[in-house]
């Protein structure tokens, strides 16, 4: 593995497998009464969040704390950043404080790449703009692997605003690396330019795609996209691309529903689908996020080899 985790594209199939295997071992920690191991004692992890994302921040924070790392949370709000301090100066400051890893969430695509140029610390991309969110992809793959024997030939549909979705980009990269067959489903206005070069199938018709899938991953659709004219109304979006009970019935019996959260119930996913105990693995995704992030911090910060 590279020094940093910036993009899912930087991970080989062996890297991904190693992360998932390590996560599986570390998940056992979470099942204990005392959910903590001393592996990263004395190491400092900084959560540098320029965007509000309570769930991702908490997930990283718990992951680091369960490995006994010291955690500092640096949020853009109420910090010097809001007084106009540049990312570079923030980076220099954190570096001077001797942090070992920086977990960065930033609204600008590519911000983690800039940060990695300016610091010696390990950089973990926790979501950059409309670009990537590699740890989300890894926890999604982990969740799929809990339900399916492997990725080779696994049929995964990613449905919704692919154009602006960092979750979609990282998942496409990781899933195609692992040999899954990905289909992107969206209105043409929400698909990126030259999407045909992504090595996935593309469809505008959710109903045609659904019955063939093992995994259906719904993406959050943001209200502002409707205001920007990418689609006419949320009602029409829900009608064409929302996963409701009727569409759930059209899925294969073994197929699962995923969502990276936070959900817009009633838009891209109906409440009864989100809460479906048989099909929805959305709560598992959240739980698995901690184990996968523990594994990443562990591997990137050079913890000892985990043995079975």
């Amino acid at each position: 593995m590279d020094k940093h985790l910036l993009s899912a594209a930087d991970l080989t199939a062996a890297d991904i497998t190693r992360v998932l295997d390590t996560a599986a071992h570390l998940a056992k920690v979470t099942d204990r009464a005392i959910k903590k191991v001393p592996t990263l004692r004395g190491r400092t992890v900084c959560n540098l969040f320029f965007e509000d994302s309570t769930r991702t921040r908490i997930s990283f924070e718990l992951a680091a704390k369960r490995l006994s790392a010291d955690v500092i949370n640096f949020s853009a709000k109420g910090s010097s950043v809001s007084k106009g301090e540049s990312l570079k100066d923030t980076a220099i400051t954190l570096e001077a404080m001797g942090v070992d890893a920086i977990v960065i969430r930033h609204g600008a695509s590519g911000a983690p790449w800039r940060l990695a140029e300016w610091v010696e610390a390990v950089v973990v991309n926790a979501g950059d703009g409309t670009h990537e969110h590699p740890t989300q992809a890894l926890l999604d793959l982990y969740t799929m692997r809990q339900r399916f024997p492997g990725f080779d030939g696994l049929k995964v549909a990613i449905v919704g605003d692919v154009l602006h979705s960092r979750v979609a980009r990282s998942n496409v990269l990781a899933l195609t690396t692992m040999g899954a067959e990905v289909t992107l489903v969206a209105p043409p206005t929400l698909l990126p330019a030259r999407v045909e070069t992504w090595g996935t199938a593309v469809s505008y018709d959710l109903d045609a795609v659904l019955p063939k899938q093992d995994v259906v991953m719904m993406l959050r659709v943001q209200l502002e996209r409707q205001r920007a004219g990418f689609f006419p109304s949320l009602r029409e979006y829900a009608r064409l691309y929302g996963l409701d009970a009727r569409r759930l019935d059209a899925m294969a019996d073994h197929a699962i529903v995923m969502h990276p959260g936070p959900m817009n119930r009633g838009v891209e996913i109906a409440a009864e689908v989100a809460d479906s105990l048989e099909r929805s693995v959305i709560a598992d995704q959240v739980a698995n996020g901690i184990s996968v992030r523990m594994a990443l911090l562990y591997l990137l910060l050079g913890g000892p080899e985990v043995t079975a």
Binding site: S86, A193, V195
Partner: protein, 434 residues
């Protein structure tokens, strides 16, 4: 009487069609004689063996940032960078603070250029007040000012309203002035960060589609045709735009066009680093566009190489990609990039390449005394360069106040040895004389 003999060089003078070994005798700032084996008695002899002697380079499109952003560049530092690049004439764009939309500012820029005295500075005036695109600036006042402006542009932004561009093209005819447009349909580029294509999609950066340039180029050409006005197209960057210009010229539209070195040497792949030194407007395009721009320069569809030299303060570029302003340096590398990618690359012969960076731009607007011909009586505005010398671009060594060159670390061929402005060395042996 000071005399200088440029001896034994290959004189490439596109305006006269001369390309061959010839001496150039300079006396009192003017070309006194041109020909083989000139008598150097009483003259300082400068050996130009193995070197190319040509008219001083002319840049139709630079940003010198003065007044307003003297921390990024000044007329002095920009002039020095230009001289080191072989230039003797530059045309600074009006997007300064205050905007050069009146006689006062263009006269100040021209006067400051004269005071510095390293290149001749021919300011471009704004087309609209404050470059806001709503009402015409006083083009007549600028044309009749001491700066004698004959080229107007809202560069940095397009003239959005077709009606306003039409009026500008018509009105400028009274002064035989050129309207230079930055072709960009702003409704298609709202929030755009880079060229729209495979790379932008993967990088999650909002795309600037080629069509946004091409539809405005098409509109501009139609309005030039309608009005009979003189249109100049800034930084043509797409294959489709080159083709539109080619077709318009074929039917006799009065249009000239320029291309920037970065658009014939770099592609959108450079954005993968997320280093905003590669962020520019119009953006770096794809391989096929680079190829088309090269072909356009080769067949004369594009008249001129213009740098769009856009200095930015270091702190403005050392940020996230989306936060950084677009623009890159060009003056000190343009000739070498031209020699390396166009001449060595086999697209243009040396004489044609020299044309596109001297006589070609001098045809697009009035730059009296520049662009050749190198003939007796003409001001001795000359560049001497070594077409075979290789050098590695080092941003730390640039004369520009800014450091945002996209060519840092690249090995280039073609090095400026001397630059003369009215017979005075502004650059000698590769160093600025002052």
């Amino acid at each position: 009487m000071t005399k200088l003999l440029l001896h034994g060089g290959r004189l490439v003078d596109p305006a006269s069609g001369h390309d061959g070994t010839a001496d150039v005798l300079v006396a009192d700032g003017r070309v006194a004689e041109v020909g083989p084996g000139l008598d150097g008695t009483g003259a300082e002899v400068v050996d130009c063996g193995g070197l190319v002697v040509c008219p001083g380079l002319v840049d139709l499109h630079v940003h010198l940032r003065e007044p307003g952003r003297e921390d990024a560049e000044t007329i002095e530092t920009g002039s020095r960078a230009a001289a080191l690049g072989g230039y003797t004439a530059v045309c600074p764009m009006p997007n300064t603070d205050p905007v050069a939309d009146n006689a006062g500012v263009v006269e100040m820029v021209a006067a400051r250029g004269r005071e510095v005295g390293l290149v001749d500075v021919f300011p471009v005036g704004a087309v609209t007040l404050g470059q806001r695109g709503s009402e015409l600036a006083e083009l007549g006042a600028m044309a009749r000012s001491a700066a004698r402006v004959d080229c107007f542009s809202d560069d940095g932004r397009p003239i959005r309203e077709a009606r306003l561009l039409r009026l500008a093209l018509e009105y400028a005819r009274a002064f035989d002035a050129v309207i230079a447009d930055h072709a960009e349909d702003a409704s298609l580029t709202d929030g755009a960060q880079m060229h729209e294509g495979e790379v932008s999609a993967m990088l999650g950066l909002a795309g600037w589609p080629a069509a946004a340039e091409e539809m405005v180029v098409a509109r501009d050409l139609l309005l030039a045709e309608l009005t009979g006005g003189r249109l100049h197209l800034c930084h043509v960057s797409t294959a489709g735009a080159v083709e539109l210009v080619r077709a318009a010229r074929a039917r006799g539209v009065r249009v000239t066009a320029e291309a920037a070195p970065h658009h014939f040497s770099l592609t959108d792949e450079a954005a993968r680093s997320y280093d905003p030194v590669f962020k520019v407007n119009p953006p770096l395009r794809e391989k096929a566009d680079v190829e088309a721009v090269r072909q356009g320069l080769a067949d004369g569809t594009l008249d001129a190489i213009a740098t769009d030299h856009a200095p930015h303060a270091r702190e403005d570029k050392e940020v996230e990609w989306a936060t950084a302003p677009p623009g890159m340096l060009g003056l000190e590398t343009a000739l070498a990039v031209t020699v390396t990618d166009l001449v060595e690359g086999g697209y243009l012969d040396l004489a044609t390449a020299v044309e596109r960076i001297t006589a070609g731009p001098a045809r697009c607007r009035r730059v009296p005394g520049h662009g050749g011909p190198v003939a007796p009586g003409a001001p001795a505005n000359l560049a001497v360069f070594d077409p075979a010398a290789t050098w590695t671009v080092d941003r730390a060594g640039l004369a520009s106040r800014a450091r945002n060159t996209p060519f840092h670390g690249r090995e280039l061929r073609g090095r400026v040895v001397h630059t003369l402005l009215r017979g005075d060395f502004t650059v000698r042996d590769g160093r600025a004389t002052r």
